[in-house]
Symmetry: none
Subunit: 139 residues, 2 copies
């Protein structure tokens, strides 16, 4: 039943990094760059292959964020909190804000209950203008 294959240092390094960053999402190049800096070189081929396996096992999620060219991966923490994770993307400065908010979670349930639409939280991005940019713009 254990289909996770051999225990190798590459697999562990990738998994460690994903877990370490489970509150946000990372790209393959980010994983690659980080491991390189750590002194643990892992070929991108290996990273892609492990991510594919982890996807099948449901240990990570894959999604694309509008405006980016590469896929994003995030460790799939099965515990409560992580499913209520939203993204706010500032159209001005490009900043990506990770938002945990009860109001938004509730709206989500409302849309499912009253409109029958199940929102994919990991894929949905709110576009707009962040606080900092709004300030500097108004001036």
């Amino acid at each position: 039943m254990n289909n996770s294959g051999y225990k190798t240092k590459q697999r562990q390094a990738i998994l460690d990094f994903l877990i370490e960053n489970k509150d946000s999402h990372v790209t393959v190049s980010q994983i690659s760059d980080y491991l390189e800096e750590e002194g643990t070189h892992v070929g991108v081929t290996t990273i892609y292959r492990h991510l594919d396996k982890l996807l099948e096992q449901g240990l990570v999620r894959k999604y694309t964020v509008d405006g980016t060219t590469s896929a994003c991966f995030q460790y799939a923490d099965d515990e409560e909190g992580c499913k209520e994770h939203f993204h706010l993307k500032c159209e001005k400065c490009g900043k990506l804000i990770h938002l945990n908010c009860d109001h938004v979670s509730e709206m989500c349930r409302h849309i499912l209950g009253d409109h029958g639409f199940r929102i994919d939280l990991f894929r949905t991005v709110f576009y707009g203008i962040c606080e900092d940019c709004a300030k500097s713009q108004t001036v």
Copy 2:
């Protein structure tokens, strides 16, 4: 004030196809293939460039759908109201739902008030699964 440029048969052919398929989304290669079959060859470069312009003008929307590698485009009709309501995009059937809902508007104000983020309603799209697809999927 008319920034739509010259009237060319390529531009018209692309626009026609988008309008014809305004109920779902299409990829660049689908546009290219269709026009090729129609006997109207249009280079992909031209298609990309027109789509970029149409995006700027707000005449089309751009999406990414999980499982696909290429971007999806959809004609944006009824321009008016779209600045005042949300959009739900079904990842299964491609349907675009225009949602007028007080709950959601309120959440919008909450995000502006408590998180300082002004959501751009025209650009923001909620990805997910619509009621019909959810039913047929569960069987």
